[in-house]
């Protein structure tokens, strides 16, 4: 097994209450240990205030841990160099309103040491990748929420990072945009990029994540491969096409004869997102 993309060991973060009179400690993250393997899509889930964002910020070196350590591809995440391999999209990002989409990517590219023709080409490719070619010369101040999210994703990818950290990547994005982002994450995964994401859209997490971790009150309460966590071990789903009523009755009888219990039989349904995209003609 190679070096994990993210390695978190015994991480604790305490914040001091801002009140002058009661300097209580608030534990945002409590002795968290987890590892994200390179090339995986990892979903960090949990209710609001569960410590997900704090964990992400510590991984990115934006917040200093009280104790424990975090590493990105084996480098301590407090080292600035570790962020060469990371792209980050915060929740509800805003960018400099006076810059155009293309200038925004130039700015972030220059921060990563890119320049000249290489940066111009990269900006063009990324604008095409996130579907913002037509809006490349428009000021970011006039972008919709979905467009901001997409330019945010493009800036996160500007230096071709090996790890992408996404905080609510589809928040406020319409179903078509959300579907695009999901497909983009899957394409990035195919290219070997590790993705760590926080999202409240559990159906989407279920579709794209290999592993998940569930946090509550700063503690990691469940962690593992998605299939292992959510599959029901003693049940089996059978989907049959063009089955006659007689065949179904026969199957039910055979199952009961063998000591199994048929819990239900129903027509499978496509999910609402797919139906919406088909109806609106935005599915690609």
């Amino acid at each position: 097994m190679g070096t994990p993309a993210i390695f978190i060991e015994n991480l604790t973060k305490e914040f001091t209450s801002p009140s002058v009179f009661a300097r209580d400690k608030i534990t945002a993250v409590d002795k968290l240990t987890l590892s994200v393997e390179a090339g995986h899509v990892y979903g960090l889930l949990g209710p609001n205030g569960s410590g997900k964002s704090t964990t992400m910020k510590i991984v990115l070196g934006l917040v200093t841990p009280t104790s424990g350590r975090t590493c990105i591809f084996g480098r301590d995440s407090r080292d600035v160099e570790s962020r060469e391999a990371v792209g980050f999209l915060p929740e509800n990002p805003y960018f400099y309103k006076f810059l155009t989409g293309s200038e925004t990517l130039d700015f972030y590219g220059r921060l990563c040491g890119l320049g000249g023709k290489m940066l111009r080409d990269r900006s063009r490719e990324l604008l095409a990748l996130v579907g913002l070619e037509a809006a490349a010369d428009r000021r970011v101040g006039g972008y919709s929420k979905g467009m901001l999210q997409r330019i945010g994703l493009a800036q996160a990818l500007v230096q071709e990072p090996r790890l992408l950290v996404l905080d609510e990547p589809t928040a406020g994005v319409d179903p078509a945009g959300s579907h695009e982002i999901r497909n983009l994450i899957l394409r990035l995964k195919q290219r070997g990029i590790t993705v760590m994401l926080c999202s409240h859209l559990l159906s989407q997490v279920q579709e794209i994540c290999d592993r998940i971790g569930i946090m509550n009150h700063g503690v990691l309460i469940r962690e593992g491969a998605l299939e292992d966590l959510i599959s029901i071990e003693n049940q089996t789903e059978l989907t049959i096409e063009n089955a006659s009523a007689a065949l179904l009755a026969d199957l039910r009888a055979r199952a009961e004869d063998a000591g199994a219990r048929v819990l239900g039989a129903h027509k499978p349904q496509q999910n609402l997102e797919r139906y919406f995209l088909e109806v609106t003609g935005e599915r690609k």
């Binding site: 914040f15 910020k57 990115l60 070196g61 934006l62 917040v63 200093t64 600035v80 160099e81 962020r83 060469e84 990371v86 792209g87 980050f88 999209l89 915060p90 929740e91 509800n92 990002p93 805003y94 960018f95 400099y96 006076f98 810059l99 700015f107 972030y108 220059r110 921060l111 990563c112 040491g113 890119l114 320049g115 290489m118 080409d121 990269r122 490719e125 990324l126 990748l129 945010g152 800036q155 996160a156 230096q159 071709e160 950290v165 290219r191």
Partner: protein, 307 residues
């Protein structure tokens, strides 16, 4: 896919990480400059200063002082006040705005050190202060040139040719002097010191209004530093009897507040006094020292700040 082709090159380019990169700092500086150029406060203050400089001749005609002295007084005074205000107001907003819009997260999540970010912001503010100072200097030169032309015409009409020639030669030598431009340099340096002080305060302040108020108070208190220092050190030959709380206040002012009296050499220039190169060098050195110290202290606060 072309994105993939460029990926190797991009990664190779980015992997040569330096602790301090002028390239990254310059990217932040130019972006800050572009941001500030679009702020209405910049144009508002610049226009107000230019109007004041432009009307200094009219003020001079109402004054009992010598006309050149009044023009210098008004113009250098306007430049001093507006560059200082511009420095404080434009710097105070930089960090809180980036934090509020979360652009700070996206910047610091890139391989950008916090010191590079702060330095870039300061360089950006310095660039806007330079532009403002140059524009005000240009307006000042136009006013001086116009005044000089008018004076020459007067001399040619009222004096004999020989006396007029001598007076004109003296006038030409005494108007656009190196001391005058050195004084403008000191005004620029003072504005940078004010900007760095404001940047340092915004590194731990939670609101930009607090930063502006405290920065302006510190700048005002800075004019009292020599008095505070004399109280602290006591008069020659005996210690001063100072109450304890006042002694603490005096020490705090002396240690943390910039000595703004240093820069008052501009007032001497405005009244036509000649200032030696040594004085300019001393002021420049101390000004640079303040900038370095405030930037370092600001960085220490910013490095420990939870974002």
């Amino acid at each position: 896919m072309t994105a993939e082709n460029s990926s190797t090159a991009a990664t190779v380019h980015a992997s040569a990480h330096k602790l301090f990169s002028i390239w990254r700092t310059w990217a932040i500086a130019t972006n800050t400059f572009r941001d500030l150029v679009r702020q209405k406060v910049f144009y508002f203050m610049l226009v107000f200063a230019l109007i004041l400089i432009g009307t200094s001749l009219a003020m001079a005609s109402l004054s009992f002082q010598g006309q050149l002295q009044t023009v210098m007084d008004v113009c250098l005074g306007a430049m001093s006040v507006f560059t200082m205000l511009l420095a404080v107001l434009s710097t105070a907003m930089l960090l809180p705005k980036d934090m509020e819009d979360r652009t700070l997260y996206t910047i610091l999540a890139k391989p950008v050190a916090r010191f590079e970010y702060l330095t870039g912001k300061l360089v950006g503010v310095t660039m806007i202060l330079l532009v403002a100072t140059l524009l005000m200097t240009a307006a000042f030169c136009v006013v001086l040139h116009y005044w000089q032309g008018r004076e020459i015409e007067n001399l040619q009409l009222t004096e004999t040719a020989e006396r007029a020639a001598a007076a004109i030669a003296k006038l030409k030598v005494g108007t656009f002097t190196s001391t005058l431009f050195g004084g403008i340099g000191i005004i620029f340096l003072r504005a940078i010191v004010c900007a760095t002080l404001t940047l340092m305060l915004s590194c731990f302040a939670t609101s930009w209004l607090f930063t502006v108020i405290v920065a302006l108070m510190m700048i005002l208190a800075g004019h009292l530093v020599p008095i505070a220092r004399s109280v602290w050190q006591g008069p020659v030959g005996g210690a001063m009897d100072v109450p304890f709380h006042l002694a603490i206040l005096v020490r705090l002012i002396t240690v943390f507040v910039p000595d703004m009296q240093l820069f008052n050499v501009v007032d001497d220039i405005a009244v036509g006094a000649s200032v030696s190169a040594d004085v300019f060098l001393r002021v420049a050195g101390l000004g640079a020292g303040y900038v370095a110290i405030y930037l370092l202290v600001g960085y220490l606060f910013f490095a420990w700040r939870e974002l």
